[in-house]
């Protein structure tokens, strides 16, 4: 469920980053207190694990990808704070190295996958573990917890997507970022995550946890005593506050009525009348008094550069590429 670049408006990205920043700060503080020095590299190992799990991803309809995250497993093994840092780092690696998930939407991705996911999953795990006794009970709790965690994160992602057409569009009512409203985004995100990705995450979590328990490498999490109510309350407040923050930013208060929503859902084909012509791609060619020449100049540069690139790639095909491993 990596949100790519430019699917969320910059304002949304800013709000989500602001929401996740205090979580990071608190996590780092707690980790330094709770985790002994020689266990710290395990955070890196956790990040690597999460990174590898996220490599196995499939595109989903609705604008994102589906894959396991392993956040709940990490939370169970190292505590939710450590899981938060690990998954954040894995996401940073993916954003900067593989272009998977945007740089601007990094905050939003972290909010969903590094905060909501491990904390929600861990809370469910802890709650269920008390009810279901024994090893089997603990594994069940881990599976259900991770399923819930992943779907909670997917739900947040869906909401963030679905709000985009409402809060940012141009004068003509055309969405500037993700064009799908809540009614499309939520089912498009939730159905595959509930049926596929969540199940994979649950199975992986249970299997890996069982394996680690068997080899007695799963040390009891260090953060048990501190989690609980405070974290849950923080989670609730942040989740409640995020859409408010988006709306309060002012552009959309007026349009937040049934009529507009209905209009958005109905997909009135307003853009049709523009017809199909190349120049429409840059309709405001001459905005702010730039002479048309500048536009042509830039296009010429683009064309020339593209030609060079294609040529270079063609030479690459000819020279053999089998030399390296």
């Amino acid at each position: 469920m990596h949100i790519p670049e430019n699917y969320l408006s910059p304002a949304t990205c800013a709000v989500m980053t602001a929401a996740v920043a205090p979580v990071w700060a608190v996590s780092v503080k707690k980790i330094q207190k709770q985790i002994p020095m020689e266990k710290l590299p395990m955070l890196g190992a956790g990040a690597a694990l999460s990174f590898l799990l996220m490599m196995f991803n499939v595109p989903l309809p609705g604008g994102t990808t589906g894959h396991a995250v392993g956040g709940t497993l990490l939370a169970i093994l190292m505590g939710p704070n450590a899981a938060c840092v690990s998954v954040s780092v894995a996401l940073l690696l993916q954003a900067l190295l593989f272009g998977d998930g945007g740089v601007l939407s990094f905050g939003a991705n972290c909010f969903n996958m590094a905060f909501v996911l491990p904390f929600a999953g861990y809370a469910v795990f802890c709650g269920l573990k008390k009810l279901l006794r024994g090893t089997a009970g603990e594994l069940t709790a881990a599976a259900i917890g991770s399923w819930v965690g992943l779907n909670a994160a997917a739900f947040c992602t869906a909401i963030e997507f679905g709000l985009q057409p409402l809060i940012s569009h141009d004068a003509a009512g055309l969405a500037l970022y993700c064009p799908y409203p809540l009614a499309v985004a939520i089912p498009a995100m939730m159905i595959p995550h509930m049926l596929a990705a969540g199940v994979v995450e649950a199975a992986l979590t249970a299997a890996l946890y069982a394996f680690l328990r068997k080899t007695s490498l799963a040390a009891p999490s260090t953060a048990r005593a501190t989690g609980g109510v405070g974290v849950l309350a923080l989670l609730g407040v942040l989740i409640a506050a995020t859409p408010l923050g988006l709306l309060a930013e002012g552009t959309a208060w007026g349009e937040w009525d049934a009529e507009t929503v209905g209009q958005m859902l109905g997909y009135t084909p307003a853009g049709m009348e523009h017809g199909f012509s190349f120049s429409a791609l840059m309709p405001d060619y001459t905005v702010a008094g730039i002479p048309e020449i500048a536009g042509y100049l830039v296009s010429a540069v683009c064309g020339a550069a593209l030609l060079v690139i294609v040529f270079k790639l063609l030479t690459l095909r000819k020279s053999n590429r089998s030399g390296s491993l």
Partner: protein
């Protein structure tokens, strides 16, 4: 003291392998190992005149933010043109590596936007696609022209907490480690898989356990090596060089000025 060789070892081996298909599980395990072994973190190559990484990171962030904010087509075209020009200065192989994720993202976005485009929102979809392409190109350029050693240093300059940087460094280390031990195991396995394996499942579980135990051992040894060399929990990552920072800051200022001008804020 020379004991004679065992008789079988003194003879030539008369061995003819029979045809054999791998069990489903074995095949899947092999492909999993292959995937793991390819999980090597790419390391960007710095050009000779490459500016310092923190400045480049700031430039990239600025470009991405402005691209996301821009409403004028002209500015988007400009950003695209800049990215294209930088791209065509790269050597062919690096160019291909840089372009690959961009093209992937473009195809993915196009597929996602198709329904909306069919419903008549093609203009906004085209614009979104352009934005995605352009910012992806900038980010990809950054990561492929920056040595990863310097990225952690630049994060330190941007006041990211040491714990994050440490976790990042360790994650990179473990990804490489896991990939390499998977690759080595795969090599050892291919060299020694010289016939029909009668106990496929025990072999498979043994190999999986082997990967796990090796990762475990290696990570323990890493911690020991760090302890021995004076690491005591607080981490001191390297700082990158401060080359050409002024020039990059000027470029950032230029971009922002252009943005303000083209977006009609003045």
């Amino acid at each position: 003291m020379e004991a004679p060789l065992p008789s079988w070892l003194a003879q030539d081996e008369a061995y003819r392998p029979r045809g054999d298909r791998d069990a489903y599980l074995g095949k899947n395990l092999l492909s999993l190992l292959q995937l793991l072994s390819r999980a090597q973190v790419q390391r960007g190559r710095e050009g000779r005149f490459s500016p310092s990484a923190d400045a480049k990171l700031l430039l990239t962030l600025t470009a991405v933010v402005l691209t996301a904010l821009a409403r004028s087509g002209m500015f988007l075209w400009l950003m695209g043109a800049l990215a294209l020009v930088r791209l065509c200065l790269l050597p062919a192989r690096q160019l291909w590596h840089t372009l690959r994720p961009v093209l992937g993202a473009a195809v993915f976005t196009a597929a996602v936007l198709l329904p909306a485009a069919i419903f008549g929102r093609w203009l906004s979809c085209a614009r979104m696609l352009a934005r995605v392409l352009i910012s992806m190109a900038w980010v990809s350029l950054f990561s492929h022209t920056t040595n990863w050693n310097f990225i952690t240093g630049s994060l330190r300059r941007l006041h990211v907490p040491d714990l994050f940087i440490f976790t990042l460094d360790m994650a990179l280390h473990y990804i490489v480690l896991l990939g390499r031990s998977a690759a080595q195991l795969l090599e050892a396995l291919t060299l020694r898989s010289i016939g029909k394996n009668t106990e496929k499942y025990t072999a498979v579980s043994g190999v999986l356990g082997g990967v796990y135990v090796r990762a475990q051992t290696l990570s323990r040894e890493t911690v020991e090596a760090m302890l021995c060399r004076g690491w005591s929990g607080d981490y001191m990552p390297a700082c990158g060089s401060g080359r050409y920072r002024g020039a990059v800051y000027a470029a950032i200022a230029g971009l922002v000025a252009l943005f303000i001008y083209l977006e009609g804020f003045v």
